[in-house]
Symmetry: C2
Subunit: 362 residues, 2 copies
């Protein structure tokens, strides 16, 4: 049994059940680093849906001491922040499943949502709707400042945000800090239309930790910093809650520079975006706003964004002053599919139940 | 086996599997009408999640000749328009399960989404987010016309739209056509905060078919007609596609009167709202617009709305001229939780991929 690992989905065993991984027994005993090079060169284990179903299919409820739904041939997305529900996707074929020293990545071909990527049990993106997320997290900040020249992306190793940044011709330099080469390599192999972002010649890849990198750059270097760090996606914005991280972001931004990061869905029972906004306001002295977008692959069908400006030339996030040139595709194959200036303004409008908690004082 | 019926969810067996119904063998042979009175007086079958799980739990994949996910103690919402995915809700207790001559209604207490109602296998509402749907389908049309006095609701037997209509003090008369008393009675019993809409003294309940009723009223009777007919919810707006139905609606509206009905989510693969809009334009000669709202309980986490105005005083749906008095709760227990004038305007802003297909020419 030692070379079998349970696929953990938000802390609970999921529908894919037990999948054979290309791990050695040494790795399973915690000796990952020594074996890392070997693991990254191993071919990914490829199992089709029938094989996956077959492993656990006979009596899942007997082997799973959990109430998270599982069903042969389906993947269950059931993050712990969303108890009592699960979003299931039919699996056609598992394309990639591996673990680096940082995280575990699963990529499968779904039946109806294109390829789907899952990082440490959290659904990262589906090809069907990734553009909604990538476009909004990129163009909301970039269209809010005049003439952005230098951009830093923290995380976002898939390349989708880089693809979107490439549509902006004013930009001279794009730094990306992605700590995990496994993520980059896997996206280049399985999601070429997303990883295409790396083809932008303005991109400089730094395979290192974002905070370490920000400490190394001069104060006031960037017009825009976008954080796509994984921890923010499904667990209540862990890094957004880290004031130390935010201070390094603010330091790296020029006066009137802008930061954007994913935030909780406003439908989350423990929606605490007001706390995040309060914390951001302590660090960033300009406008602080919450926005959201429909992304059906994510829990509740949406995701939030926090936008923060440093003290300096005022930024009005709701009224984009740097409209996107829709004829400039950058390295993308076609025009934006989700973002437009009307939508930009609309996503700051909040339902009444969320409005008091999330609106900006500035 | 004759007194057992499979619970059909969008055409496929769902997680609740086989549940004992209070049906006689006569009913199962299709003799519903004769037995209807008896059925409606039978106590609902009450099964808790463990019992439900127990019925099918041992080897679901052996008894279900379907690929729709099922899992003991969970309800799978998997409408056929959304293949390859399912939204699962943990069931605490089944509260009601019965069938009238028109449809089958299932109500269960979910673990985290309040009570959930399912009509003929289509998820109708969850207590967690029903207000988003009910408020938007009501206030989008009512806030778009000055001083509405007479309103017709077709379907909507749960009473939630009536609850929202009650917040408008200008209204003198609310006619509701709900064909199925089972729906009304069940909502009054299990969803008192929704069925509270019936307490509005301006409401006149007509237990009959909406088209038959519209044929009986004078031309130009209503300022606003809202259709919440079930067929539109999950199957591609069946009745919206029925030009005959739309003609009766247009006839019953005054010049410059307004019609609102649910429409497909813009994430639906076969999103054909442009066809619906074209059809509406043939019948209604005023503004035609598509809007949408986040409602996590529905597939893709959202639902669309079509708004149509008849020829007459022009209606600009995007700019509400009849703002809601938020201090007037009507028969509701508190203020609106979702709708506000900002959101009203924002929900007409569409992502680029949907904009060409759904925007109004007027």
């Amino acid at each position: 049994m030692a070379d079998y690992l349970a696929v953990v989905n938000g802390g609970a065993l999921n529908a894919l059940g037990i999948v054979k991984l290309p791990y050695s027994k040494k790795q399973l005993r915690g000796e990952e680093e020594e074996e890392e090079a070997e693991a990254s060169h191993s071919p990914p284990s490829v199992l089709n849906a029938t094989q996956i179903g077959g492993i656990l299919g006979l009596s899942p409820q007997k082997t799973l001491a959990t109430s998270t739904p599982s069903f042969p041939g389906w993947y269950a997305d059931a993050p712990p922040a969303w108890p009592g529900e699960a979003h299931m996707f039919e699996v056609e074929k598992v394309l990639f499943h591996d673990k680096s020293q940082y995280q575990e990545l699963l990529i499968f071909q779904s039946k109806k949502h294109g390829k789907i990527a899952v990082l440490d049990g959290f659904l990262q993106l589906s090809e069907k709707d990734e553009f909604a997320y990538q476009e909004m997290i990129t163009h909301l900040p970039l269209c809010s400042v005049p003439n952005p020249k230098k951009v830093l992306l923290i995380g976002g190793g898939d390349g989708g945000i880089l693809r979107e940044i490439s549509r902006h011709s004013s930009i001279m330099q794009v730094d990306i800090c992605e700590i995990d080469m496994m993520v980059i390599d896997a996206y280049k192999q399985f999601f070429p239309d997303i990883a295409v972002g790396y083809k932008d010649p303005r991109v400089r890849l730094h395979v290192e930790d974002g905070v370490a990198f920000m400490r190394s750059v001069e104060e006031g270097t960037y017009d825009v910093i976008i954080s796509d760090a994984f921890a923010q996606m499904g667990t209540g914005a862990v890094e957004l809650a880290d004031k130390n991280f935010l201070c390094w972001v603010a330091r790296a931004l020029r006066p009137g520079g802008v930061f954007c990061a994913p935030a909780d869905s406003l439908w989350l029972n423990q929606f605490k975006v007001e706390e995040t906004i309060a914390k951001c306001r302590e660090v960033f002295k300009g406008s602080i706003n919450y926005a959201w977008s429909t992304v059906p692959a994510y829990s509740s069908g949406m995701i939030g964004f926090v936008l923060c400006a440093t003290e300096g030339p005022p930024v009005n996030f709701k009224n984009p002053i740097n409209p996107l040139d829709i004829d400039n595709y950058g390295v993308a194959k076609g025009p934006v599919r989700f973002y437009n200036s009307e939508v930009h303004t609309a996503v700051f409008c909040l339902p009444s139940f969320a409005r008091k908690r999330a609106t900006s004082k500035s």
